[in-house]
Symmetry: C2
Amino acid sequence: MDDTSQKIIDAAMALIRDKGYVATTTKEIARAAGVNECTLFRKFGSKKEIVLEGVNQAGWRADVTPEIFQNVKWELGADMEMFMRAYMDRMTPDFVNLSIGLRAPQLYEETAPFIMKVPQAFLSSFTGYLEKMRQMGKIPEADFDALAMTLFSATFGYVFLRASFGEELSKVEKEAYIRNTVQVFLKGLAQ
Amino acid sequence: MDDTSQKIIDAAMALIRDKGYVATTTKEIARAAGVNECTLFRKFGSKKEIVLEGVNQAGWRADVTPEIFQNVKWELGADMEMFMRAYMDRMTPDFVNLSIGLRAPQLYEETAPFIMKVPQAFLSSFTGYLEKMRQMGKIPEADFDALAMTLFSATFGYVFLRASFGEELSKVEKEAYIRNTVQVFLKGLAQ
DNA sequence: CCTGCATGCAAGCGTGTACTTGCTATCAGA
DNA sequence: TCTGATAGCAAGTACACGCTTGCATGCAGG
């Protein structure tokens, strides 16, 4: 990936994050990247192709994969904190807004599978973790699918609301939120 | 509000819900409403004005206000279920997608205050509820702001994820989710 | 029957959009 | 020094957009 192409991708993705795919024009992308507009088309052929290359770059993806949830200590409280923190550290407001900016009918089909991988990584990892904890006798049997959905919804919901409304909606800080949420779950899942 | 104007508003809001404000054209709105395109402009003057009238209509707002959370029994489990259900019954996938479709730079300033009222209604109502429960001696002291944020995030997150991915992400049904989530919180908040 | 209003129809305006083209300047590598 | 690749520049294409206008039609109320 040459330098010019990278500048174009970066400019396009930043604009889409800020105002959405349809509202972002190729003229703006060119200006933000500091190149001539015709250069975009010589390099990528079309506006759509720029963002499809962008979403396939590691730098424009929140690095949320099953691997980041492997660092478990088999100690429920610490591990739930790790799950929440691993997700929140990566899914920054910028990535939340980018995900929404990519929600255009012209792109949805091609970007949706990639977007859905993120929640799936959290959910399946955490469900698997709970099942192993059950096998180890550390927690009682329960509906682990539903529990995982609750913890993930609580994590995702906080991140999304923060990205959308900032401190105006709630002043509860990330670390306080994690501690408090995990405490509720800890007692809620106790033997 | 005459019949023609209403049909125009309904068509515009439905299209915005499905493809977003910028991607929705006045030609499409006219066709969906079954009227001539020039009629939109004779009635409303501009595309933006159609939407601003739409978001001010009860039918195009999820009716989530502090009033819908008043029906409490001062019994923690039943009341938390009521809070979640009251929100979920009103914040349907259609309204979630509409909220996202309205996220256009050209509209944001005028629609954001209205959008934020919904989470605020849940949060402040539930925080107030927990404080009263504390005064009644039914729950111990805790960080009620953080707790309310957790329950609301869990509720909102589920609704949003369902609206975005449907059953493909998680098969956990609404009622099972509510029961399970409330159970966790019940034990988590116990004396 | 007449009047006024709401709407359709068709054409058009100016602008902005994604995308193209032909030519030129620059510059690194052979 | 020559060559080939890269990119700027300026002009332009075709089309779609939001929005306008003039005229015809139909219909309800006096």
